[in-house]
Chain length 298, copies 2
């Protein structure tokens, strides 16, 4: 048969906590990437902004000192590591593009150490504790999957995960996987039922991108408590990194409160079977989708 | 406060099995609508094509005899009932629009017995056991919510539920609820794990429409085994009708194998609170959504 190729991918997820010590955070990421590679990972995904604390809890101009160029110090170190380990790495950096122009950028590093491509976070949140619109200019690269030696990767970042349009556009451009580096957590003083609803909604909306597009989804979230520099309650990042197959079925789900490194086998060929029986791409009513490019239909 | 209005709606769901006896099916629906109304429902939602068996298991020209005009016999009976009970009813009919032109159409009947509007199923499935493309011309009315005395209803039908575009367009046009009359089930000879994945995907993708759009979702599915007229294994409709709030949180979930009539209180005002903190409509990147109106980005 023409389409009976077996195509599996070992994907490593690094769910970690961070401190203000940038070098220590990177050292920890590197140690965990090495463990994932030893366990067979050919692709390793880090969480959003893994170099440091989630600095967007407050709007503080000095935090722009945390930004770096791409290529720059982080991609240099991770590039050498990717080459040494012969793996692809998805990193997430605070990109300094010019003086006064910054992005929240995911970088895909090829197994030869070069930069395969980058994705600048397109949807930028802004709500109490997540003041990202102060720091990040919304991306201008659009929704373009990045071709790598392990497949065509649909990289999206955190807040993007709530937008079905982003997932769909990646799938329509041939993404074989959707990948979400993320930093999301609870306000510690939120009531318990609301915490359950928030985390459950976060998992559910991403599983639905897998289902609606017939693609595996990999989501890697930060874990641990981080204090609010202004003396507020801070944030409890809820971990819960996960992998689903193309029907949204769980292949792995991490804890809410522990650092974890996990290698998961993803069958990239299963999308072929799933999409044959659930052929949503066949039936989209593009003749009636025109108003999706409006803000509101009023 | 300007926006502190309490606005709850009692929604009745009728999950039923059907036989070849059209009159008996309608009598059963009417009896259950009466029960729901007695329990306080102001809106009652019936399942997809509740007048009869799910005839799309095979392509048989004689099944076009089951179609009716709108308005027609079913809307006449249900209109009188809606007026008597002072409720809004969402019905789902096999519409005969002209000789050789048929639709799968949801009709919203106002509490004065008039037709408030109709929605012609836009996405039409076609896979073994669900040969709908033979029977139904894809709808030409687009994704327009229907204004009623109980709110602005975003009616979609079955296969539509797999398309985030449909839910989004309804939300963008001011829908206060998403409502999915449905007829979906398992091939009885499917393996047990696949059955779990299918039903779970169906629930998850609809919950995600609630989440991504900050809207309650009501889904009403058929239940029971129906034989294949060609002698195949038939279909086991999996019931599991449900209601969620605007974070995708379950307010009700029906059984997989029993007829059920249930009245659920939906807080329409909660969307206001949820969308303030999760303001996805604020942040859509319409400057980069243009290719959503392509079939594929190649």
């Amino acid at each position: 048969m023409l389409n009976s190729v077996v195509k599996t991918l070992q994907v490593g997820l690094v769910q970690q906590s961070c401190t203000a010590d940038l070098a220590a955070n990177l050292a920890k990421s590197i140690a965990q990437i090495r463990i994932a590679a030893q366990q067979g990972a050919k692709l390793v995904v880090l969480q959003e902004l893994h170099r440091g604390l989630y600095f967007c809890q407050q709007e503080m101009a000095e935090h722009f000192d945390l930004a770096e160029t791409i290529p720059g110090p982080s991609t240099q170190v991770l590039g050498a590591l990717a080459q040494e380990l012969d793996i692809v790495i998805v990193a997430s950096l605070f990109e300094k593009r010019a003086v006064g122009l910054h992005h929240n950028t995911a970088v895909v590093i090829e197994c030869d150490g070069t930069i395969a491509g980058k994705y600048r976070k397109m949807h930028i949140p802004d709500d109490p504790g997540y003041y990202e619109k102060f720091y990040f200019t919304p991306g201008d690269l659009g929704f373009q999957p990045i071709q790598t030696s392990v497949g065509k990767l649909g990289i999206l970042v955190c807040w993007d995960q709530w937008f079905p349009e982003a997932a769909r556009l990646m799938a329509m451009a041939g993404a074989e996987l959707l990948i979400y580096p993320t930093a999301i957590g609870w306000a510690p003083d939120e009531d318990a039922d609301e915490k359950v609803r928030q985390r459950d909604a976060w998992v559910t909306v991403q599983r639905a991108h897998a289902i609606a597009n017939g693609l595996p989804v990999i989501s890697v979230n930060r874990v641990g408590h981080e204090a609010d520099p202004a003396g507020g309650v801070g944030l409890d990042f809820w971990g819960s990194s996960f992998v689903t197959g193309p029907q949204g079925e769980f292949l792995f789900s991490a804890s809410v409160d522990q650092e974890e490194t996990k290698v998961v086998t993803v069958d990239l060929q299963r999308s072929e079977q799933v999409r044959r029986m659930w052929p949503y791409l066949r039936d989209r009513r593009i003749d009636h989708y025109g108003e999706l490019i409006k803000i509101y239909r009023d």
